[in-house]
C-alpha cells in the first residue's frame, strides 16, 4: 500500500498516514471476494481428492446457487442500506412474509370477507404488496427519525407487529397463485443452464443500488449520515430525510423480495422469512460492511450472500450434516464482526 501524504509545501514535512494492511485486505469487496474464491476452490478440489464426480464447478450448480441466493440477497440489499446509516433492521423477513401473504391473498381470494370478495387483479395485488412493504419501511423510518428510538428496538417491535398481522391475515398457506405472480419464476437459458428471472432481478437490483450508492448525491449522503451524523447535519445534509428515504426504500426492496419469494415457492406462506433478518445481516457482515455505519459496499453483500449459499451447497454435495453449515456460518459471522470491531478500534 502506498503512503499518502498531505503536506505543507514550505516545510515539506511529510506526515505518513496510518496505513493498515489489514484494512486494505478488508476493503470490500476484495477480502470477501477472495474468501468466496477460496471456498469455491475448496469445493471444487474436494470431489477430485475423493474421486467423486465434479458437481460443484458446473454452470447448472452456479445457476442453482444464484437461485437460492435471490430472496435473501434482495432482503440484504435493504439491510445494507440501513446498516450503512449505522442502523439495523430485524423486521425485514416478516415484512416480506406479511407482504407475500397479502399479495397472494388478494390475488387469489380478492378483497373483503370471503364469499363477497371483490376481485383484485393480480398486478394490482402486487402493487398493493409493494405499497404495504414500503409503508412498513416508512413507519420504521418515522419511528427512528421522529421519536429518535434505536433502530434495533423499533424493528424488533415492527417484527412482532408484522408477524402478528401475517397470522391474523392467514394461518394457512395460500395456493393456486395466478400466472402474473409466477411470471418471475420462468427461466431463461444462460450458458446452457436454466436461470429463473427472479435470480436476474436480484442481480439487476444489486447493480442499481451499487450505482446509486456510488454515483449519485443521495448515495454519498447515505454514507455521510452513517459515518458522522453530526458532521453531515452541520454541512446541511437533511439527515432525517435521508434516513426516512433509506428505511422506505429498504421496505420497498422487501416488497420485491416478497414477489420473488412468491414466484419461487409458488404459494403464499405465512411461515416464511422467520430467520431472514439474521441471514440478511450475515450477508451484509460477511460482505465487509461495518455495523458502525458509513463503510461498506453493496457488492460485498452480494458476495456475502453467495458465501453462505456456496457453503450450504458445497457441504450438501459433500453429504455433510446440514446443521454444520449453520455452525460454520455462525463462526464466520463472529469472525467478520470481530474484524470490523478491531479495525474500528485501530481508527
Amino acid at each position: 500500500m502506498t503512503t499518502h501524504t498531505l503536506e505543507k509545501s514550505e516545510s515539506s514535512e511529510a506526515i505518513p498516514t496510518r496505513s493498515s494492511r489489514l484494512s486494505l485486505l478488508l476493503t470490500p469487496p476484495f477480502g470477501p471476494l477472495l474468501f468466496l474464491f477460496i471456498i469455491c476452490v475448496i469445493f471444487t478440489v474436494l470431489p477430485l481428492l475423493r474421486g467423486q464426480e465434479q458437481r460443484f464447478l458446473t454452470v447448472q450448480n452456479f445457476a442453482l446457487i444464484f437461485q437460492q441466493t435471490a430472496v435473501v440477497g434482495v432482503l440484504a440489499i435493504g439491510q445494507t442500506l440501513i446498516i450503512l446509516t449505522a442502523g439495523i433492521d430485524l423486521s425485514n423477513g416478516l415484512v416480506m412474509a406479511l407482504t407475500s401473504v397479502i399479495t397472494a391473498g388478494l390475488a387469489v381470494h380478492g378483497f373483503g370477507p370471503r364469499g363477497e370478495a371483490l376481485y383484485v387483479d393480480p398486478i394490482v395485488a402486487m402493487l398493493i404488496g409493494l405499497g404495504v412493504a414500503s409503508l412498513a419501511g416508512f413507519i420504521n423510518g418515522l419511528l427512528v427519525t421522529r421519536l429518535k428510538l434505536p433502530p434495533f428496538i423499533v424493528t424488533l417491535g415492527t417484527l412482532n407487529i408484522a408477524f402478528a398481522l401475517t397470522r391474523m391475515y392467514t394461518t394457512t398457506t395460500i395456493n393456486g397463485l395466478p400466472q402474473p405472480l409466477l411470471a418471475l419464476g420462468s427461466a431463461i437459458t444462460v450458458f446452457g443452464a436454466r436461470v429463473p428471472l427472479y435470480a436476474l432481478v436480484m442481480l439487476v437490483l444489486f447493480f442499481v443500488v451499487w450505482f446509486i450508492l456510488r454515483e449519485t448525491r443521495i448515495g454519498r449522503h447515505i454514507y455521510a449520515v452513517g459515518d458522522n451524523r453530526e458532521a453531515a447535519a452541520l454541512v446541511g445534509i437533511p439527515v432525517n430525510r435521508v434516513l426516512l428515504l433509506v428505511y422506505t426504500s429498504a421496505g420497498f426492496l422487501y416488497g420485491i423480495a416478497a414477489l420473488l419469494l412468491l414466484a419461487r415457492q409458488e404459494n403464499g406462506d405465512p411461515q416464511a422469512g422467520q430467520t431472514s433478518n439474521l441471514e440478511s445481516i450475515t450477508a451484509v457482515v460477511l460482505g465487509g460492511t461495518s455495523l458502525f455505519g458509513g463503510r461498506g459496499h453493496v457488492m460485498g453483500t452480494l458476495i456475502g450472500a453467495l458465501v453462505v449459499s456456496v457453503i450450504r451447497n458445497g457441504l450438501t454435495q459433500q453429504g455433510a450434516n446440514p446443521i454444520i453449515q449453520t455452525f460454520i456460518t455462525g463462526i464466520l459471522v463472529i469472525a467478520a464482526v470481530a474484524v470490523d470491531q478491531l479495525s474500528q478500534r485501530s481508527r
Binding site: 498531505l6 515539506s12 506526515i15 454519498r220 454514507y223 452541520l234 454541512v235 446541511g236 445534509i237 458509513g294
Partner: protein, 262 residues
C-alpha cells in the same frame, strides 16, 4: 493587504443580549469584523464568546439587538441561513466524515452534479470536477496533496482540522468563524492550521477566531476583541499590548488605561 477600518464592517452586531434563564450570556454586546482581518475573541470561561458567535452564525437567536451583514440587517434562523449568506463556521469537534476521502469531505453537502441529464435527472455526482477543483483549491492554500482519495481518518489531527478549515474557506463568501480550531491539536499540528488561517486572511476573507491560546492569538490576530461578563470590554492592537496585559484585562485584574474604549 491590511484591513481598512474605515469601510463598512463585513459583520456588525449592535447591543446583542441573550439570556439563559437568569444567566445573561450576552449583555448589550457589540461586535464588528472588517474585510481582510483576523479578529480574535478572547475572554474568560463563561464570558459569552461562544454565545456571541452562535448568534452570528445562526445557531441561536439573540433576545434583542441587531446583526448587520455588510451594512444590511439580517436575521439568521438557522446555521443554514447564515451559510447561505456566506458565513461559514468551523466547529471545535472536528466536523469531518472520517470514512470519506478529502474531496468528498470538501464537497460534502455541496456535491457538484454532472452536466445535463445525468446530473439533473439522475443526480449523478461529478467526481472528476470535484477532484480537480479540490486539488487546485488545496494547492492555492499551499497544502500539497498527493492523493485526494485517502480517507480523512488516515490523516493526522492537524490535517483533518485543515480539511475542515479548507472546506469552510472554499465555500465562505463573507467570513469564517472558528471556535478554538487548535484546542485539540499538538504544537506541530496547530502550526499547520495557523498557517492556513493566515493564508485565508491573505486571500481577503475575514476570520473570526476564538481561542484561549494567547501565543496563537498574539501571533495571528490583527485586532483582539476582549469579551468580559457578556460585553465587549475593549478592542486592543496585539502589537501594542502584551499577553499579560490582555489576560489581566479579560480576567478583570486590570482595568483599561489606553486601550480603545468601547
Amino acid at each position: 493587504m491590511p484591513a481598512d477600518y474605515t469601510t463598512t464592517p463585513v459583520i456588525e452586531a449592535r447591543s446583542l443580549t441573550k439570556y439563559f434563564g437568569h444567566v445573561v450570556a450576552l449583555d448589550r454586546c457589540d461586535f464588528e469584523v472588517y474585510a481582510g482581518e483576523i479578529l480574535a475573541i478572547i475572554g474568560d470561561n463563561g464570558a459569552g464568546k461562544s454565545t456571541l458567535i452562535k448568534a452570528l452564525c445562526g445557531a441561536l437567536q439573540p433576545d434583542s439587538g441587531q446583526i448587520f451583514l455588510e451594512g444590511k440587517p439580517v436575521h439568521f434562523r438557522s446555521p443554514m441561513d447564515a451559510r447561505n449568506a456566506g458565513i461559514e463556521t468551523v466547529y471545535q469537534n472536528l466536523a469531518v466524515s472520517p470514512a470519506l476521502n478529502i474531496t468528498e469531505n470538501l464537497f460534502l453537502g455541496r456535491e457538484v452534479l454532472r452536466p445535463g441529464f445525468l446530473g439533473r435527472v439522475l443526480r449523478m455526482i461529478d467526481r472528476k470536477t470535484m477532484r480537480t477543483q479540490s486539488e487546485e483549491f488545496m494547492k492555492s492554500l499551499k497544502f500539497r496533496i498527493q492523493d485526494m482519495n485517502v480517507s480523512v481518518e488516515s490523516l493526522s489531527g492537524g490535517q483533518r482540522q485543515g480539511v475542515a478549515v479548507a472546506r469552510s474557506a472554499a465555500f465562505a463568501r463573507k467570513v469564517i468563524i472558528m471556535d478554538e480550531p487548535t484546542a485539540a491539536l499538538g504544537v506541530k499540528e496547530s502550526r499547520m492550521v495557523l498557517d492556513l488561517i493566515r493564508e485565508i486572511r491573505d486571500r481577503g476573507l475575514p476570520v473570526i477566531l476564538i481561542s484561549h491560546n494567547m501565543p496563537h492569538v498574539f501571533e495571528l490576530a490583527d485586532r483582539v476583541h476582549i469579551q468580559r461578563l457578556g460585553r465587549r470590554l475593549a478592542i486592543i492592537d496585539p502589537k501594542q499590548y502584551s499577553m499579560s496585559d490582555a489576560v489581566a484585562l479579560m480576567t478583570g485584574a486590570k482595568t483599561l488605561a489606553n486601550a480603545e474604549q468601547v
